[in-house]
Symmetry: C2
Subunit: 171 residues, 2 copies
């Protein structure tokens, strides 16, 4: 069995067993503010913005315009705390952090799918943003129906619960 | 506009503007080998394995068993190169790296959805693995139908293309 210590010798890690990533771009979004103001995931967002990819990575975008949607991994830089248990946004009971999308996770990575409206040189115009302005982008992948739309998912209990809480809060 | 330089003052980055992450666990998988042997995404995989979360993060898993599927972000530690353009696995034409799922991306992050079979203390038994044994796990999130199953995705052209190439290669 591998453990954290055995990983320390890998060269992609630093001397403390940590992994080093470089931002490949930045999000330009009308959303400003701290983590708790984020819209509840992009399924309720029709917010438009732009993903700027830094110049050195521009060739990496070739062909991305063939996809209707992209999947973006980013660093939630506004997140200040790490919590292992939290009360998720719009919910009422504490959960383990990995059972939530809260930014307060051990590694502040976010992952969102958005519609790709246009690819212009090193800029991607997108719709369905739930990311703050200035957020560092770590990776962009095509969203592929065959891979990313999973069959047999049972999370309707959560959808119902959230809609119930939401309508109560809006009253 | 933000740029790479302006990010350097953020405290989650090191002095070179890089982001530091800590593995939260490790994948135990029957898949051994180098990046190019990976099965083509989990939609063709019924491979079972276990995600081990390191002891300190165990409380973060509370409640995850309520989800049928989880979404795992991991570091593709077998990836050796960074390429900005590549010929994707099972395809024939070169693409920008961000228009592919190739491990040779600037940050070697992978993202896969898998079925959660069981949650036993700090171990998650999963099905649908496309990840090598020993891969460091960076984050685990619940896969939520309402958020992650995107409507109106047009990537059927790719599915058709891949199935065509695959059947040709299997002949």
């Amino acid at each position: 069995m591998n453990d954290q210590r055995s990983n320390k010798s890998f060269d992609y890690m630093d001397e403390n067993g940590r992994i080093i990533l470089r931002p490949i771009g930045v999000v330009h979004s009308p959303l400003q503010g701290k983590s708790n103001d984020a819209p509840f995931q992009s399924f309720v967002s029709d917010i438009k913005g732009t993903i700027e990819v830094f110049e050195e990575f521009e060739p990496g975008l070739d062909g991305i315009e063939k996809f209707s949607h992209i999947f973006v991994i980013y660093y939630m830089h506004e997140a200040e705390k790490i919590k292992l248990r939290t009360v998720p946004l719009m919910e009422e009971e504490e959960q383990g952090i990995f059972a939530t999308r809260s930014p307060s996770r051990p590694n502040h990575l976010g992952a969102s799918t958005m519609r790709l409206l246009a690819h212009k040189s090193r800029f991607l115009d997108v719709e369905g943003l739930d990311i703050f302005d200035g957020t560092p982008v770590i990776d962009i992948k095509p969203y592929v129906a065959k891979v990313d739309i999973v069959k047999g998912v049972d999370s309707e209990w959560l959808t119902r619960k959230l809609e119930k809480i939401k309508s109560r809060k809006l009253e």
